[in-house]
Symmetry: D3
Subunit: 270 residues, 6 copies
């Protein structure tokens, strides 16, 4: 993996560790961040060796969200024609969204490990991950409402499917901060850990478990769950039938069953 | 705000308090109720001064649901031709639905404050609100099953998105009564309070918080969450990009950021 | 009800008890199972006397899922042309799906009573039921991932609507086993019971309650909740208006209201 | 029918004739027009005596589209905040759309009879009708492009379903004027007539034919075709099954079949 | 192929000829018809030797539609409870729809050859076929409107996709009879022929052409076109990518390309 | 514009002329083609000076479709595991689709000018354009069926919306070649021209007309028509209301109306 300015990326044991690496700026999402995250997930996508991804933040906080300097610079570029401004703002928003869409569309499971602040854009980001885990004292807030805007890079679109409609609205309208314990009760995170160390340990343990499964099976499973977020049950059934028509011809099924019979750990090709 | 027969409506501090006001009839929904609620929410919609709505019931109970006299009178109008009966019943049901659709479509957040009975039609009503809060001893029941009909003014359509599919079916098939505590566990209400007084106090506190935010941002946030109830993630992302292309040109963003920098409370125009 | 090889089916008090009956094989789903379940639910569908269904497993376990012999035999039929293999695999999967679609589409509520193992295909099956109840020590696992495949008879399609997106993914990627208590917390089961006896007693009590309601009203309620799993709120409102335009002309409404007035138990025709 | 400023409305032989009546202004759509058309179609909707509607324009032209004065006055109301302007523009557009939605949603067939100019907003209007008929020398143009805007009251939404995608784009991008003959070739109108007199004669003849059919059957037929514009084939099949479950119990079926056997003209109740 | 009462079915040169065979009853669709057509298309589906289907009517007419006796017998079974009548009518309609759904869902192309009357239910039937061809003097009418009902076995659902929205409504509201020439102009039939003999000759020639192509490729092509009738372009692109991921591994691609290079006619396995 | 291997791209008078430039290979789509077309349309997208695009083919033919060498090389990369082959084939197909999606998604109108052969992949390409124009003797064929595969880069997905369902299937199942005249009758091309010279002249004339309109209005119009291909009428109406809420604040509306009043040609900023 090449070097990045806003991230540190490591690959070991078939797991890519993508870490936001601007701890001195509370991991705020600056221009580098938005550009590099697309490249990183493109490389992860194309590298068959990677089977799971852990996304974390260096330092005391996961991330304070979008860098306010960057937001201000967008405003500074507006001209006198409201229609042409709208055209360029729309382009800009779609561009930012594309960054988190790359996380969402990644064919390998992405696990977010969250400590400290997880504010504004950071919620948009973890909503695009497969699963979220946090420390007990992590702090979550849909901060966008406090800077006078509706969240537009994914929180309002993806989070309702994760935590349901009722509490979603309260959090989005008020920007109320919740901690890890409440986040777990709401289903926003799957599990909480006492501190950052045990958090990373726990998340990597789950990632390793996933990496040991058939990559063909994991990929199909993820594709189907993503598909169901937006499609009908009958469409989903037809889609998996078509998908498995090819995938069940893979050797992984045989490898898994042989291992199962002989009570051994199966080894799958990438 | 004008006078109403079935409601008392007050506007203060940018919050409209809409109170069902037939306590001697357990706030049953009579013909006045169904007509007036549309007018009330139309006025709320058009009045830019209103930024949040609290919906409550006067007296010991929130509401016992549709007035059975009214239901009986619908039956009395049926004639000998089953097809023409169907035509007029369908019209009537769509008309009743329109009343709660006006609540659902209101561009300002609507918070329901529920004590005592919340039965049948009352569940249809609170399902159309943004958030629900109740006393611990409130009593909820999808009562329609007990009068021999499938709920047709919104419960079966909106509640599954709020409490999920599994328990939804049990409650709808059996009409089982649940209290505030169970309602909170299921996500039907966001929080419970010890008694009616603290309930109203708590709900108004949340409403005030919302009313202090940028009305442009709250409106956009609500529109997006409503949109996501029925649309795909990719459609939602395009929609918010188009929406914010105009709204981010509003002064509210600047007002909010200036206040944020100077650690002061922002003041937004209506 | 006729005799079956993989099931025992009994009808009493308007409740059909469908019991998987291969306890010596941990109720694994063999060829008989897949064929007979369609016939059974067809008969239940057409028999107006049946008003609710309890689905259980004989012996210590609910079911260990698809019979591995059967899976192996599918593999054995593959030939040299990958395209033609895909054609026959797709057909086979659609055929298996049709079995559980028959459970899902049954117009009477189906209650699953689960003890012991509920693995792989058994989760696909109970996801197609209306409600799920289990013993505290029941064991659930989306086992398909361990035999190298993406679940393709309904789990990935139906379960996210029941337990939400976040934990769904963890369970599907890892195949982690959860017990009844965790299943209840996630909403996978509605309630847990201490042991198998109290489980069946409890489930039959709920089924009897449902069977005492108007069958016209229960059918409409189920049709609407199913419809909402895949449709928009506005479409759902139009659909129930059209549905009730006919159904509210039924005598059940009058029977229920008369009973309600006179505080008596109503008796509904089948 | 009451008196209107922008329309003349007559009801005879179960056919409502709605005529835009500002010939001295080329039937341009002014504020009266937009308000009154909603009332008119509401009355038509509720009056069971009306079975078909003919929509025409008084004088030499059908209509030149939206009144430019009215458009200018909208612009004049814009203030300094681009976000709040967007809020009020969006409201205004939705309000104008509602006028033509009332035509589209009318449960009785609406036949447009078009001569002379049919420009801009007039195309939006006739796209919301069931069928369109014109004189040979009628002139159609999607004029909005020439006043610097994308058509926003229905043309871009409804016309592609009527004339297909390819030519739709050419007409919308260029604003090219086509005559009745080309409109017929494209399917924009069903038939052309030599002059205005034979046009009205022909259209009323078709309307009378429709008015002689069972109103229950015509209403169902229209509801289904409208539904199919936006829904799947399988959803449409379920919907008509639910619809006809009530409607086939109407006497009209028997009336029609008796008439059919005895070779007589059936007479249907309103 | 076994013997049928309402049909004659022959299989030759990989083409199944399904002929409605009640010429003395103008090929009216009686109870035998509705039952047998499902069996016939099931057999066709499972028989890999069949690559295309021609559907025709014996004698002077294609078919006069549903047998009125059969329709009358449905009416005769109605009882006193309008709700329970609705339940059984809905079931009956879904059952009839299932017959034509089997034609629509058949994975091999179905070509309708139409002469003489093609009325009511016959239009529902041919709308479910892939392509329609007729004699010049064939007569088409959406006859249902004349027996007081909205067509409910497929015409209103499938035909708008074939002939567009505008003329569809005129034909459905008026029941107007059109001949083969107008049907061709509207796109209802692909081509007309001078008489029944040349019609069958022409249709079989096209069927033979299709039967000579790769059955894997034809099946995929049909599945995709059917899918696009009800799905979005982006969903369709993903679906074909998943489908072809398996199918492009078939030998047919190589067989076709080799034949193409050597300018020879390819021979594909069933 | 930079230099390309498979294309010649010129920009003049606000129109980009994109010409496939491998006439000696009948403009077959090789690896360069697929890579460069994405870059070209990205540049066009970002260059506000471009207002319309003409897509043509150098030499006697528009294009013979995908280069068979390229197709063969894909086959050559397949390994022994059918599941992993499926994974890489799916990726490859999605990659090719992305090339034509870039044409489809381009916010400026794309006009295809077609002479000679337009076969296989060339139909996929022109189906992704806004409008198509051809010489009278152009030759169109959905050639994929003849190389043993279902078309998978857009024809089956986009063409049915352009030419309707009935003839679409005939052309796709048989691969029958049609000329420009028949293509015009079917709506596949908007207009035919006598020869290549008058074709280009005619297409550029239309492009110039479009380029003279408000670019804000053209962009909105295209976005809406594209949106309607896949969305409901009510969603489309809401979307345009939101879109125009920003765009109607542009100066173009005023520029256009002023020009209209003074009968002068308006000049719009890019």
């Amino acid at each position: 993996m090449p070097d990045y300015k806003a991230f540190r990326v490591e690959l070991a044991d078939k797991i890519a560790h993508v870490q936001i690496n601007r701890p001195e700026k509370v991991n705020a999402m600056n221009a580098d961040f938005w550009k590099e995250i697309i490249t990183i997930f493109q490389e992860i996508e194309e590298n068959d060796e990677v089977r799971a991804v852990v996304l974390s933040g260096a330092g005391k906080h996961f991330s304070s969200g979008i860098d306010l300097m960057m937001l201000a610079s967008v405003g500074a570029q507006l001209g006198p024609d409201a229609g042409r401004n709208a055209r360029s703002l729309r382009r800009k928003i779609l561009e930012l969204q594309a960054a988190f869409n790359a996380v969402d569309a990644c064919s390998k499971p992405v696990l977010a490990a969250i400590q400290g602040y997880c504010l504004g854009g950071a919620i948009d980001l973890v909503s695009a991950c497969d699963m979220r885990y946090s420390t007990l004292d992590a702090q979550f807030s849909i901060k966008e409402i406090d800077i006078g805007m509706a969240a537009d890079v994914g929180t309002l679109q993806r989070l309702p499917r994760i935590i349901g409609d009722g509490m979603m609205r309260e959090l989005a309208y008020t920007g109320r901060t919740i901690d890890g314990a409440e986040a777990e009760r709401l289903g926003l995170v799957n599990r909480t850990f006492a501190d950052q160390e045990s958090l990373l340990e726990g998340v990597f343990a789950i990632a390793r478990e996933i990496a040991a499964k058939s990559p063909i099976a994991v990929r199909g499973t993820k594709e189907m769950i993503r598909y169901m977020r937006d499609h009908r049950v009958d469409d989903g059934l037809e889609y998996i039938a078509t998908w498995n028509a090819a995938m069940l011809q893979s050797a992984d099924l045989r490898v898994a069953m042989t291992a199962h019979m002989s009570k051994q750990k199966p080894e799958f090709a990438d």
